[in-house]
């Protein structure tokens, strides 16, 4: 080991003049039979924004977890600032100057910003000196990088964008020189994302190194200096951002040419299928989640709901799906649906021809420990064709149907006995889609159709949705991916804080205008 270190040092010293901020050499990591990282080598230069892009399951997160000491690599070396460094745990990563901003924030909700920043890095027995020091630093950073957050605000009162800033501040307080951000814009409005990018640019210009993990090509093009592409655990390319294009990157990610735009004919609108009027939802805490919204969907139309997640879209899907109570009026084919939950549930909605692909397939759409064939009738288990009699299910019939559906939707591997958990994200989503679309519903509710789905499967899923539309069905599409809503929907409704901020034809709007509406700025968008 010692000799390896020595040679490593000499080599690094002999190479390019300033040592790279991070260099990984031959990193491999396997989880059981799955090779998550295969012989990965990468150089991240000091003072740059380095993007790492790849489909879900390509191994980006594993690689970063190794760098942050969550996993131990099976093989390979890590060099920080030209020096070989062992990172057995996150404490070692922090002392090596690495800071990480996770996709899901790790903040104590009922602590103040200041307390969160100091937490785990307190100096001495008394808290006050640390807090004082942190307050001073926060003021400086706020002025320097637009990193302004009220130090005394409770986390639970902050918006998502502000919470993310607290995470960045936490890393900077721990003297991080290298900042890793894992899918940082997933929960942000376009305006907040722009703000984040300005912060990152400021940090880069101050000499910090930033690693940005994302699957969004646009972000890579916008902010990174260099980009590395991962596919199936391997690093397939590292290129200068200025010398590449989104199409090229997509091809590198998937390994073949990809259609980034959805290919679809103009909508052939039929009669009105769904009408929603003055829909209100109050949650258990008494907070109004939907504040009297209304819209309609016609046959042969995809209505897209755009918005940052958590602005009432989930509640809308739950109400229409039949498992949340609401007031107001919802009619399907002119027939009013019960919203009180007294005479209806998710079962009765399905009987009326409303199919639902839920936003979260792990929590709702699938039972991960059930076999694929058991999942293929989930929600429709009461259908007589899946039952021999009132008590016994007809497993043979379910099995046969599952095989047919797996073939039609190209689910891989086409093995009905495999647990849902053992399929990739894209194939899990195909199982849910196969189940719901093949019911031939009048109205399809579909939430985040391509979240955590690889690019190859995205194309297929979009095609299926458009095909259903062309058969004259009504589709309600909820997605936080603005691009997806824009390319898939015929008409777009933007939700913000439980209200509808505006309605646009997708052919007559753009990301900027929708972004303003998503941030709750009506005037800006109308102007």
């Amino acid at each position: 080991m010692a000799t390896a270190t020595e040679t490593g040092r000499q080599e690094t010293a002999a190479l390019a003049s300033p040592a790279p901020a991070i260099e990984l050499r031959g990193i491999s990591k396997a989880f059981g039979p799955v090779q998550a990282n295969k012989d990965i080598s990468i150089r991240v230069e000091k003072g740059t924004v380095h993007g790492i892009i790849g489909e879900n399951g390509a191994g980006k997160s594993t690689l970063m977890s190794i760098l942050y000491g969550f996993y131990k690599a099976d093989a390979g070396e890590i060099f920080i600032g030209g020096k070989e460094t062992l990172i057995p745990d996150s404490q070692a990563a922090i002392s090596a100057g690495i800071g990480m901003v996770f996709q899901h924030f790790k903040l104590v909700e009922n602590f103040t910003v200041l307390e969160n920043v100091v937490l785990g890095a307190e100096e001495g027995f008394r808290l006050t000196p640390s807090l004082r020091k942190a307050r001073k630093l926060l003021t400086e950073l706020a002025a320097e990088y637009e990193l302004n957050v009220d130090p005394d605000a409770l986390i639970e009162d902050l918006s998502v964008g502000h919470r993310q800033r607290v995470e960045i501040l936490k890393a900077l307080y721990r003297k991080a020189d290298i900042l890793i951000l894992d899918e940082p814009t997933g929960v942000l409005t376009p305006a907040e994302a722009d703000h984040l990018f300005r912060i990152l640019e400021g940090l880069r210009d101050a000499g910090k190194t930033i690693i940005l993990i994302t699957h969004k090509l646009r972000e890579i093009m916008d902010i990174t200096d260099t980009v590395s592409v991962m596919r199936r655990g391997e690093m397939t390319a590292t290129v200068k951002t200025s010398e590449t294009s989104p199409e090229h990157l997509a091809e590198l990610m998937v390994g073949r040419k990809v259609l980034l735009r959805v290919d679809k004919k103009p909508a052939q609108l039929g009669k009105e299928i769904l009408k929603v009027e003055n829909l209100r939802v109050v949650d258990e805490q008494g907070v109004e989640r939907l504040k009297g919204i209304g819209f309609n969907i016609r046959a042969g139309e995809i209505l897209g709901i755009a918005g940052v997640s958590g602005n009432g879209q989930s509640e809308l899907l739950e109400v229409l799906g039949g498992y949340a109570e609401a007031t107001g009026k919802v009619s399907l084919h002119g027939e009013e649906l019960d919203l009180s939950g007294a005479e209806s549930d998710a079962q009765s909605r399905r009987l009326k021809g409303i199919a639902h692909v839920p936003e979260d397939r792990h929590e709702e759409g699938l039972i991960l420990n059930f076999h694929a064939w058991e999942n293929m009738v989930f929600g429709y288990q009461n259908d007589p064709k899946y039952n021999k009699n009132k008590i016994l299910m007809d497993n043979k019939a379910i099995w046969d149907e599952t095989q047919a559906k797996m073939d039609r939707f190209d689910v891989r591997p086409p093995n009905p006995r495999l647990n849902a958990a053992n399929f990739s994200g894209g194939n899990q989503q195909k199982i849910v889609l196969a189940r719901e679309i093949e019911r031939n519903p009048e109205l399809l509710l579909i939430g985040q159709p391509t979240r955590g789905v690889d690019i190859g499967a995205i194309e297929f899923i979009h095609q299926q949705i458009v095909e259903l539309r062309d058969q004259g069905k009504a589709i309600l599409l909820v997605s936080v991916e603005l691009e997806e809503v824009l390319s898939l929907a015929d008409r777009i409704v933007v939700m913000f804080d439980g209200q509808i901020m505006g309605e646009r034809l997708s052919s007559e709007t753009d990301e900027r205008e929708l972004g303003m509406l998503m941030a709750g700025m009506k005037q800006g968008a109308d102007a």
Binding site: Y323, D345, S348, P358, E364, I367, L368, G379, Q381, L392
Partner: protein, 365 residues
Amino acid sequence: MKKMPRWADVALIPILNLLIAFIISGLVLLAIGKDPWAALGTMIDGSFGSSRGVGYTLYYTTNFIFTGLAMGIASHARMFNIGGEGQAALGGLGVALILLAVPWPHWTLALPAAILFGGLFGAAWAFIPAYLQAKRGSHIVITTIMFNFIAASLMGYLLTGVLKVPGKMAAETAKFPEGAHLPTFHEMLAPFGIEFSKHAPANLSFLVALLCLYVFWILVWRTRLGYNIRAFGESESAAVYAGINPAKIIIITMLISGAFAGLMAINNVMGEAERLIHNAVEGAGFIGIAVALMGRNHPIGIFLAALLFGFLWQGGAELQFEHQIPREMVTVIQALVILLTGALDNMVRRPVEKLFIMRYKAKGL
């Protein structure tokens, strides 16, 4: 991700756990100056070496099958029914009441009635905690534990009061009518020319228990109700999405669970004691928890685990008798098995998983 083959999960791990438990037990025996091999010999001989021993072992096994099934069905809905003890006690009350109320002419008539009443009383005792969980959110673990105490007090009250035979000292009911006598193994096997000990308590209920194992399997993996129960147990949010009513599933599952526990009474109350005595359940309700855990909530596993605990109970009794090993020490050995196979399952599981993963790697999978 594949961690290890199924056979390792269902067989290797329990066997390893058991081995460790036996090794520690052996050390305990050495420490008190007894020969562990001789003790093991006595336990095996005492529980399987004679038809009397087998009869006792299978009698205990029958009890544990019923309470294991009770725990198992609740586990499929991810509910921890600690109340098997109380539900089995109440099942005993149901069986005693119906058997004392009618002058039964023959067991073929008495048994169905006892099954019905035992099941009903057990289910009824589980209903209140189930209702409180489903509609009021009171935690089922807490309420079922409480209900064990209430059941014990209630039984004590009834057996020293209204149900006691006037003029007798013992806290027990009158003996059931002759017609309610269940055939013992001795009587069942005699027509086939098999000489089975007259003194063993094993009786026809063992066959009912086997039947219940089969019913359990059908219920969980072949019926729509079982599908809904398992779906709810795996993910409540998904169950709600699919239109499965959580409150309904909680209550129905607990009723079935209580009924299985209550059915135990046809073995210990109707089959063995032929009267209702105080503390008739003798902790079998709690053993059911370990049985279901070790048996992975599967009927075959539950049967094997119940058999193991039957062996431990019968063998343990022999140990006391033959080697003058104090009762407390026998309890220690039984507790070690429960601890290792139940509570400390992960201690062995993790290293074994690692070994298998290393083997996969070596094979280049």
